[in-house]
Assembly symmetry: C2
Homo-oligomer: 203 residues x 2
């Protein structure tokens, strides 16, 4: 049996340098990969919109995945807290994973508060031009705090939860997002339609 020496390995490698490109991975899915990044306050409706969008894309036979900030904090980001530095790292990791998934040919939906403008801009830079859609789920603080689906606003306002976005940690609204959806002004079906129409512009 021939041994694979340094030289023969190299020679063989040069015969087998083909790799599967991101374009090739996308091509067998008959779609253009895309990252749709939903940012906004806790309770703004990001996860609800993200889920509804994924269902609709999937119904069209498109290949998707959904990265939800809350879920990722139980897995990939389970070691991170809520300090500004930890939030930077949280968003950096989510963006890197979204990029890997876009490289895999998928349409990736991210739902994450992602409160800092610089973090979102750093995320955008990981993607090809025109393949990163920043969607500001701009539901107001008042509406989010009234909904308070997880009781977090109450906890934060009582001082029992630190570094909560909108209470004692800032939210920096996007300056020029690709889309803007206020679920305090729209019913869910209208909000979903608006998001769907937006995504359609990036085929």
């Amino acid at each position: 049996m021939e041994r694979m020496s340094k030289v023969s390995m190299h020679q063989q490698n040069s015969l087998h340098t083909s790799t599967v490109s991101p374009q090739a991975r996308a091509a067998i899915k008959f779609q253009q990969p895309l990252c749709i990044w939903l940012t906004g306050l806790s309770g703004a409706g990001k996860s609800t919109l993200a889920n509804a969008l994924e269902v609709r894309l999937h119904e069209q036979g498109l290949h998707t995945c959904l990265l939800d900030g809350d879920n990722l904090r139980r897995g990939l980001c389970s070691d991170l807290g809520m300090t500004p530095e930890a939030r930077n790292e949280n968003i950096r990791r989510i963006a890197e994973v979204a990029r890997l998934m876009v490289d895999a040919g998928l349409i990736v939906i991210v739902a994450a508060i992602s409160p800092f403008r610089s973090d979102r801009e750093a995320a955008r830079k990981l993607f090809p031009e025109g393949r990163f859609l920043e969607v500001y789920v701009s539901t107001s603080f008042e509406v989010c705090a009234q909904r308070d689906p997880k009781g977090l606003y109450r906890e934060a306002r009582a001082g029992r939860l630190k570094n909560f976005t909108g209470v004692d940690s800032p939210y920096e609204a996007p300056l020029a997002p690709e889309g803007n959806i206020d679920t305090g002004e729209l019913v869910l079906s209208e909000a979903c339609e608006r998001l769907w129409a937006l995504v359609q512009r990036f085929p």
Copy 2:
């Protein structure tokens, strides 16, 4: 325009609770998701085998992605060093990302030294039974150090590179891997055939 109050949001959500399941994401790809985890020393041939396997899977029309430890250290894991703790975290993140990709319906190939048995066992636990294939690329230290494709063994032996697996950091060989491939004993084409035959057993 109707405002989406906490109650109406909840009511509407209950009308739209459908989400896209991992099974549904896999179904439109006509494949069973799988994680093929290649472990072994630096220079053992993991990346070469991983690339060749991905090309072959892709040629079959299967939906793949490749997570290469070296590449991830320039992105998702760029903040991590080579201490045992940093290696734990490195493998934890790779495993979490592989899990997200399996949830997205993909066949994921991981090529990472992943020297510690407990880290690989923790990775395995993230996947459904029978959907994690540990493949030991068992090329010997002597062969790897002789190949030394990046000059790292020379650096490590000279003491200029710390925590290098096989030199001053341990490699814990798998006890019961699903597969075993020694690229010092097989030529590349044979090694690829063996890996392909192994993967075929997990359709």
